[in-house]
């Protein structure tokens, strides 16, 4: 990237860039190349979400603004942008405004290590998966801080529910990651994807391997991590209005909303990288590799996002004690057992990756 920029500036403006400036500029261009399309995808995914629910409930969904209602998200965004940001008198102003910004930034920062194609990654960390895990464990701060800073009971209850929920499901999620790591033998996301090439009869990804149950646990934990139904107790409308978001308006609310969707898409991307073979085509068959990898990757993210919307449209909300029971008494023992079984399997069949 840096070399390309140096060439570009010499060709376009006749200026030679200093090496360190070229490096910094290269990083900035890389960040923009990920974030700008991502925001567009977030806007369109809100639209898709609403259309999928509408179709499942035999409604039409957004269909007025633009052709087929395509511009609905942008109209909503404009409306939010023009509204007044209300800060409650008894709120802690700085933290109140910090919280939505934190949620949004953390939702974007995670994308730095996602490989979109072979070598198409901003930061090829060799602990990429730990980075994602660290960033997603920070997400709880945006919510807990907003709940506390709003100085409202509804918001505080929502924040407490949310943080307890996120901390609980992170544990089983960590164990699921360990099973994948043991099979792939690396913490680098690109190497994890490459390890899924031809796992069973020419199928790429962990579809027909003993890791498939772990994918289901990962997916359900991802629903809980992103506060999606059936685990949307932190914002349960019927009980605590909108939970931690209750005092927010205008762009502060929009940042929460965008951050939530960016996080959901990040979780879809993680599921497809960890279990569905990332940018690899579904079958290890030569002609399929002619289609660029990032198209396969987006296809998989699209599919996972559809499943997210599908779950929201069909499943009723959990009760809080049931949610905690599922996290601690069902998922944690199963994933822990699976770590041991996977280790034993790899050891006995002599398949431990070097």
């Amino acid at each position: 990237m840096a070399d390309l920029l140096v060439e570009f500036f010499q060709w376009g403006f006749g200026v030679t860039l200093v090496p360190w400036l070229a490096i910094i500029l290269g990083i900035v261009v890389g960040i923009l190349a990920i974030v700008l399309p991502l925001l567009l995808v977030v806007a369109m995914s809100v639209y898709m979400d609403r259309k999928v629910w509408a179709a499942m409930q035999m409604r039409r969904g957004p269909n007025v603004v633009g052709p087929w209602g395509l511009m609905q998200s942008f109209a909503d965004g404009l409306k939010l942008f023009l509204k007044e940001t209300i800060i409650p008198a008894s709120a802690n102003k700085f933290i109140f405004l910090l919280a939505p910004a934190l949620t949004f930034i953390l939702a974007l920062v995670g994308w730095a290590v996602i490989p979109f194609d072979a070598g198409m990654v901003l930061a090829d960390l060799n602990v990429g998966i730990l980075y994602i895990f660290a960033i997603s464990s920070l997400g709880v701060y945006g919510i807990i801080l907003s709940g506390w800073a709003s100085n409202s009971r509804y918001a505080f209850l929502g924040a407490l529910r949310s943080s307890a929920q996120m901390v609980s499901y992170e544990v089983s999620m960590g164990f699921v990651l360990v099973t994948v790591l043991m099979c792939a033998g690396s913490l680098n996301l690109s190497e994890i994807v490459m390890a899924q090439k031809d796992t069973f009869l020419g199928v790429n990804g962990y579809w027909f391997t003993p890791l498939f149950p772990m994918m289901i646990i990962f997916f359900i934990s991802a629903l809980a991590e992103t506060n999606r139904p059936p685990f949307d107790l932190p914002e349960a409308e019927a009980e605590i209005v909108a939970g931690y978001q209750v005092e927010y308006s205008s762009m502060a609310f929009a940042l929460f909303f965008l951050g939530e969707y960016a996080n959901i898409i990040l979780m879809c991307a993680m599921t497809s990288i960890l279990f569905l073979g990332g940018w690899l085509p579904p079958f290890d068959w030569e002609p399929l590799y002619l289609i660029p990898g990032w198209i396969w990757f987006f296809g998989k993210i699209f599919f996972m996002f559809f499943v997210f919307a599908w779950v929201k449209a069909t499943v009723p909300r959990y009760r809080y004690d049931q949610l905690m029971r599922l996290g601690w008494k069902v998922f944690l023992p199963i994933s822990l057992l699976w770590v041991v079984l996977t280790g034993l399997f790899l050891l006995l069949t002599d398949k431990i990756p070097a």
Partner: protein, 204 residues
């Protein structure tokens, strides 16, 4: 040069936020500064080439331990003027402990300076990064060379955890608990009978 700028940036923010942890009036702000300090220390670890430790620091301390701190601090109803009251009373003993710690730190620093140059460059990971990633290096040390000690540490923590549960758990009588299995296994016939009542006869 970028390396040096990053180092001084992370180091300054770490020291600054560490001071703010003990000097800020609002305990929630203190916890936030503590998180900032953890975060910048993670940055320093990354600069040292110890990316695994940096990530674990963020996951464990920021993602779990500080969340618990935050939970506790937020739920406390703190009277700030009450907190300042004991300041004069505890100043001598607090100051003494601070002085002892300072003296120890200085001793360590001087001792390190006097013992001559270190034979290996402390900034390079052992073994070299291009041979083995440091995740692998830590793994092979912990799980092969120090496997026994590692397992012992794990057992001690497990005992502490079970101990805490035993101390705080009490079985209260007369509490109705939900048994999910019973609920799922319940059949229609367990709950009610369908009785055909003949007109004019009743159930008698």
């Amino acid at each position: 040069m970028i390396y040096a700028i990053c180092f001084y940036l992370f180091a300054t923010i770490t020291v600054f936020s560490a001071i703010m942890v003990i000097s800020s009036r609002n305990p929630v702000h203190s916890v936030l500064y503590l998180i900032l300090a953890f975060f910048n220390s993670a940055g320093l670890f990354v600069l040292l080439g110890a990316e695994f430790i940096a990530m674990i620091l963020v996951i464990v301390y920021v993602g779990a331990v500080a969340v618990l701190f935050m939970f506790v601090v937020m739920m406390l109803d703190i009277d700030y003027s009450e907190l300042r009251k004991g300041f004069q009373k505890y100043l001598p003993i607090g100051g003494l402990i601070g002085l002892i710690l300072l003296a120890e730190l200085l001793l360590v620093g001087f001792g390190w300076g006097l013992s001559g140059p270190v034979t290996t460059d402390p900034a390079t990971a052992i073994p070299a990064l291009n041979e083995m990633s440091n995740t692998e290096a830590i793994g092979s040390l912990l799980y092969t060379k120090y496997a026994f000690l590692f397992q012992m540490a794990g057992l001690i923590l497990l005992v502490a955890m079970i101990g805490a549960i035993v101390l705080t758990h009490r079985a209260r009588p007369g509490v109705k608990k939900q048994n999910i299995n019973d609920q799922v296994m319940r059949r229609r016939g367990d709950a009610y009978d369908i009785v055909k009542v003949k007109p004019g006869q009743g159930l008698g």
